[in-house]
Amino acid sequence: MQKLILSSELLQQMRGIELTSMSRRNFLILSGLFGALAPTGVLAKGSKALPDLESVDWAEVLRGFSVDTLNGLAAFAVPGLDPFSKRQKLTVQGFGGVDNGAGPFMSVALDISAPFDPNLSLLLITALAAMRDRIIARIFKYHGRAGVIGKFQYQHQKEMLDRVDQAFFNWLSSSAPKQGLPLTLFSATLLNLISAVINPRSVKQGFFQGFASLSWRQKARVFMLLEAKPEKLVKLIWGDTQSPVGRLIVGNLRFLPGALLQLACSASYVEPPLLIDFTDLSLIARPPGWDFAGYQIDDTGPRLKPVDGWDDFMGYFEGRTEVKDA
């Protein structure tokens, strides 16, 4: 198995990352991870009882959470009439990236693009979680509101968050996340954290939280911020760019935003695996992306397939089939 091996320096530094309980709580909320638990029902509203987290299938929860965020991205890249496009207040007639299955497609592609190291997910997420308290306070001050964190002021709420935090990080550092997620989870978390910077109201529970809850223009601003000066952003939010972890985050921030946008676009026009009949590699139906692009395929045979050739041969320019040295 192809393995990724993180340098000992990196691991050492990771172990040394001090996460205060305050920053861990903030991270859970701002990243949308806490909100992602809402559909599981473990966080019964108004209940003072501590949640039962034993039953939580984190892989499932996090995949759903990540795909929601990535669908928000697909709608941004290629809007359609789907709920994610509606949510961003930019719909365009015809199919969109979400209809083409771009969200799940991206999730698979992202995760297989980085060899697995049990420490990688933990490292990246821990590094994100080390967000400076100061910046969180500033986000909310800047927006002139007490913010969502203010709502979690009671002791039982803090305890609940701490429980979730413990369960989440336990899961992350176990071998369970082996089934993928390293880059998807990081990407989704990153997009949501920056969304919180752009619009604190994006921090909420359930569907359409974080990035997926922003307007199209706000989404563009998330990328403006991410693309502009990764060093500055990392320094501002995490306070460190020179250490190995800081460099890893800066590097990822330089690479990921572009990669995410480009991937979202191609995933919106690719043939979704669901439409491929793997027994004979034909298509069950025309992919929406192809249809919309007016891309032609071989529909002369009994099954739809990409063509083996086109009838566009017009001869040779000026009839010349061969040239010689000058």
Binding site: S7, L90, W216, I276, P306, W310, D312, D325
Partner: protein, 595 residues
């Protein structure tokens, strides 16, 4: 003990392997990726399956699809497009085989244009010509046919007053059909969409499918060496595997896929007090087992990223620090034109037409499927079009195209994609300078089982003045051509690093101070170690697509190896080469059961 071990079966490695096998040497060719066999059945032209850069069968990763791709530390907005497996990146390439611009070589008389004079090839263009001819015949290279999109491109070029170049050499600003390593259409090829009529032998050569970048398995039913596109998988490798059958003195090579090289082994006991290459260590990617084998000569051809990585992970000497440095990538860019009428931009050879500009680079008209096309429109260093400019000055985002350059997203992407059939694009291939800042180094953060992974560093906006000026010139020219051909909307993307062409990261050069290889492509500091991929090139070949030059150079390197280590005489220029489509090769390929 082998005579020669070649590392990497991509654009360059198989050329050395075939030439030396033809001479009767015992050659082991190690390839880290898979060997794609029975491609009539096992290959699809789905962009999301086999065209997928992360999961597809020509991805840069091990052959086991359940294993993750090979990782590189990129650390910037860039797309690295190289392919693993027998054939390497030529599985995905477009087959364009222009010769280099002559100004990239020492001894060039000058034509008034500026070249990267500080980093020229250490021998003359004339010296390489016989090797060009040899490779052009072997592959073979043929003049590209014309379809709707090419006709449109030529029309645009003529309308802006560019003359036609009806030769193989680049002398003045001009346009021409590409000289492609693609067998041209015969029989039904190019004349029908009916797959039953497109089987070999009713159809021969290029069927105009438009899927060059996914890999060519057409025409179906054709023997491996008669597939249209001449990736080394279809040309040099089948010849190397059957050298005993078509060459009197020949000896078939041993090809080992799934063999990922960890390091080059050296002995310290050389005559000159230098280390001497004595073998190679590798790991089977399927079983994890490690092996070591000895050889008289080692040829490194793992591509411009992995070759320096292997060197550095082997702790070989690097006294001037130039191992990995001086990477050229042709500072690529993309300009798309949308027309009123359908232009069939996705049909035919991926790149059938071009224009060359001495001292500047070249333009290739390129066809892509919808997913790659959408990608190409979203790939920009100038932010999201109409939203933000990513710190780019006004001057750098406006030109002869419409509006600012930038990522085309959202409503506009959907509009442009809706006119997919009405669009064609031009790839800007810049003659870029060799610069120390653009380089491959080892990551100090992450490693895999072969050691630290490669870290790629490429300045985008801070390239040399000449590089940046050439790129702007070519982007504007592209817009002019498209407009003159009738485009109603012209978009310039201002791509960040698109690494399809990667050269000169282990460069040969005149000066010992800034090169790794001598004029024979032998390493300056390790005896018996040669480099035969794009990394050996002295520079970016004046912006010409690099593979033909790499293959000509690799042929010359094979001769140098024979002369220096095996006491043989040169053969190029003394006789005609055998073409890889010769009947004797076809017979050999069929009788050996190579599919």
């Amino acid at each position: 003990m082998r005579d020669v071990i070649v590392i990497g079966a991509g654009g360059g490695g198989p050329v050395v392997a075939k030439e030396l096998a033809e001479q009767g040497l015992d050659v082991l060719l190690l390839e880290g990726g898979r060997r794609n066999e029975n491609t009539d059945q096992n290959y699809t032209h789905y962009e999301g399956l086999d065209g997928n850069r992360i999961t597809g069968i020509t991805r840069n990763g091990p052959s086991d699809p359940n294993q993750q791709a090979w990782f590189r530390e990129v650390g910037q907005n860039a797309f690295i497009w190289d392919a693993a497996g027998v054939g390497g990146t030529t599985q995905a390439y477009f087959g364009n085989c222009p010769r280099s611009q002559p100004g990239a070589f020492v001894g060039f008389a000058g034509d008034g244009y500026q070249y990267d004079d500080a980093h020229l090839f250490p021998f003359t263009y004339e010296e390489l010509l016989p090797y060009y001819r040899w490779v052009e015949k072997t592959l073979p290279v043929q003049t590209a046919a014309m379809g709707t999109k090419e006709a449109l491109f030529y029309q645009g070029c003529q309308a802006i007053g560019l003359p036609l170049n009806a030769t193989k050499d680049i002398v003045v600003d001009s346009f021409r059909p590409n000289e492609n390593a693609i067998l041209q259409p015969q029989g039904n090829a190019g004349k029908t969409t009916n797959s039953e009529l497109l089987r070999f032998p009713q159809a021969q050569g290029c069927t105009f499918c438009g899927y060059c970048s996914i890999g060519c398995n057409l025409p179906k039913g054709a023997p491996r060496n008669l597939k249209a596109k001449r990736s080394t998988h279809n040309s040099y490798v089948p010849m190397a595997l059957t050298a005993d059958l078509w060459s009197d003195a020949g000896k078939a090579i041993t090809l080992m896929p799934d063999a990922k090289v960890i390091s080059i082994v050296t002995d310290s006991s050389s005559m000159f007090g230098q280390p001497k290459a004595s073998g190679v260590r590798w790991r089977n990617t399927l079983t994890g087992e490690q092996f070591e084998e000895r050889a008289k000569v080692v040829v490194l051809a793992a591509g411009s990223i992995e070759s320096p990585r292997i060197w550095l992970n082997s702790n070989l000497p690097n006294p001037n620090g130039w191992v990995g440095k001086g990477l050229t990538d042709h500072a690529m860019d993309w300009v798309t034109g949308v027309f009123d009428e359908p232009v069939e931009g996705f049909k035919g050879a991926a790149a059938g037409a071009r224009a060359d500009f001495p001292g500047r680079g070249c333009l290739d008209q390129v066809a892509l499927g919808p997913a790659f096309y959408a990608f190409s429109l979203a790939f920009s260093d100038s932010g999201i079009r109409g939203q933000y400019t990513n710190g780019r000055s006004r001057r750098s985002i406006y030109g002869k195209w419409d509006g600012p350059s930038g990522r085309v997203l959202g409503r506009e992407l959907k509009q442009v994609m809706g006119q997919f059939q009405h669009a064609t694009s031009i790839l800007v291939i810049t003659d870029d300078d060799v610069e120390e800042q653009n380089r491959i180094e080892l990551s100090d953060l992450v490693a895999d089982q072969q050691g630290p992974v490669a870290r790629i560093k490429l300045a985008k906006r801070k390239r040399s003045k000449r590089t940046l000026a050439n790129r702007e010139f070519l982007a504007n020219k592209s817009a002019e051509i498209l407009r003159a051909a009738g485009a109603k909307k012209v978009l310039r993307l201002d791509w960040p690093g698109m690494l399809l062409h990667m050269q000169s990261s282990m460069r040969m050069g005149l000066s010992e101070a800034d090169s790794v290889l001598d004029e024979n492509a032998q390493s300056r500091w390790v005896e018996g170690l040669y480099v035969a991929d794009n990394s050996a090139l002295a520079n970016g070949c004046g912006g010409s697509n690099p593979t033909l030059t790499t293959q000509a150079l690799a042929t010359r390197t094979a001769e140098k190896i024979m002369q220096t280590h095996f006491g043989a005489k040169p053969w190029v220029g003394t006789r005609e080469p055998l073409s890889s489509v010769d009947e004797s090769v076809t017979e050999a390929v069929l009788s050996r059961g190579i599919f």
